[in-house]
């Protein structure tokens, strides 16, 4: 049983050697020493050290493009589940339609999914989403799956190479929300193939050389058919 090579793993409370870099996300300070907040991997960049957790709740950040689910309808607002501990709000003025107050069901109903952008957020993590941006829309067909929010960068890959690989190989349309919800549309077999591929990426996100292995995975899959 050989294990795949992984990045350096840390646990909550582990001391992190900065080596002249600046601490950024996922570290806390105590007596001018730095410790990990999460169970995750260390990422050392040119200037900063981050701890990338294996799992963490999604926290709304302005300008994130997210996929949300309508949870509740008010007189002028929709409450949106953004795969986070915090709900977000969508006001009727932030939609591409001319919605009258009290007439919100006609446009978006409970259970509908939307692709939207976080337009505002504050220090107590209240947030508002907007659909008044090009590309933002109601997601009418397709399927939604959820991955853990910290795995989203890996699912997208460097410059989108991982998600483009999956799109091309499975011939599906995919939108990845920064919050971990992923919308996939296409033929049912292709969608299932894409879901399986994304689940593998999610599970092995912390290993090295994953894009090459995924390319090989698709080659094998195609060869068997």
């Amino acid at each position: 049983m050989k294990c795949l090579e992984t990045k350096e793993i840390v646990y909550p409370g582990d001391k992190i050697e900065l080596n002249d870099l600046k601490p950024r996300n996922g570290l806390y300070e105590s007596n001018s020493e730095y410790f990990s907040e999460y169970f995750g991997v260390i990422q050392r960049g040119d200037k900063f050290v981050d701890i990338a957790p294996f799992n963490s709740p999604y926290l709304p950040r302005v300008n994130d493009k997210i996929i949300g689910k309508i949870m509740d309808i008010g007189p002028t607002m929709w409450t949106v589940d953004i795969n986070s501990p915090y709900y977000s709000l969508l006001h009727i003025n932030d939609t591409p339609w001319h919605v009258n107050a009290g007439d919100l069901e006609r446009y978006l109903n409970v259970g509908d999914f939307i692709y939207a952008k976080i337009s505002q957020s504050n220090e107590i993590r209240e947030s508002w989403v907007s659909m008044k941006e090009p590309g933002m829309k109601k997601l009418e067909t397709g399927q939604i799956i959820a991955v853990k929010p910290p795995k989203v960068p890996r699912v997208i890959g460097k410059g989108g190479n991982m998600i483009n690989l999956i799109k091309n190989e499975t011939n599906t349309k995919i939108i990845v929300g920064q919050n971990g919800f992923i919308w996939i549309d296409g033929d049912i077999e292709n969608v299932n193939m894409a879901i399986n591929a994304i689940k593998i990426v999610e599970k092995e996100a912390h290993t090295i050389g994953l894009t090459d292995r995924m390319a090989e995975y698709f080659k094998k899959l195609k060869g068997e058919n």
Partner: protein
Amino acid sequence: MEGNIKLINDDGLRLDGRAFNEMRPIKIQTGVIEKADGSAFIEWGANKIIVAVYVREAYPKHTQNMDRAIVKARYNMAGFSVEERKRPGPDRRTMEISKVVSEALSSAIILEKLPRVEIDVFIEVLEADAGTRIASLTASSVAVADAGVPMRDLVVGCTAGKADGRVVLDLSKDEDNYGQADIPMAILPRTGKVVLLQIDGDVSEEEFDQATSMMMNAMKDISKIQRDALMSKYSIEDGE
């Protein structure tokens, strides 16, 4: 009954054959509940406890704390978890354990990072065999770390006590029932800060010092088991 039962034999071994400073075997597993944000299952001797953690906006709204998260642990014993059926529902003992576990976890979690949030820790005891509060806490801290909640450290706990006039580590059910004292303790291993300490029974100062030093040693091993449990979900076997 008390006085008649011999908890430690002439060879210095206990009823279950352990030495005075020997722990029961501990096994922890994470990710046992798919739908939960974080989860853990612990087998500590004959104790079997499952823990599920959910992170969400506190509800009802007036319970929200605008500058930090609140931790709500709920310790519950299954009716079949003890020899004589336990009457379901909260009672004085389970409410006490819920409280001390919540407070111990609160001191490890970086609460300011998640304002308005409620961290629900559901602890279900499936089988109880002494030392469930510490086993619950040890598993809870693994489940909270599995949920990706920012923490200063993993809380680790252990018990010691006095049976037949001797200080022993990790009391079994009989030692708990017929012994003279029971001392559960939990610490943050990095700093050694104590987050839970209770004493039930009578111990002298020397006995207490002896018990704590014994627990401190044992906690190093338990801490290792917690880390291995977290890791086991993420070590992927090579396909070839």
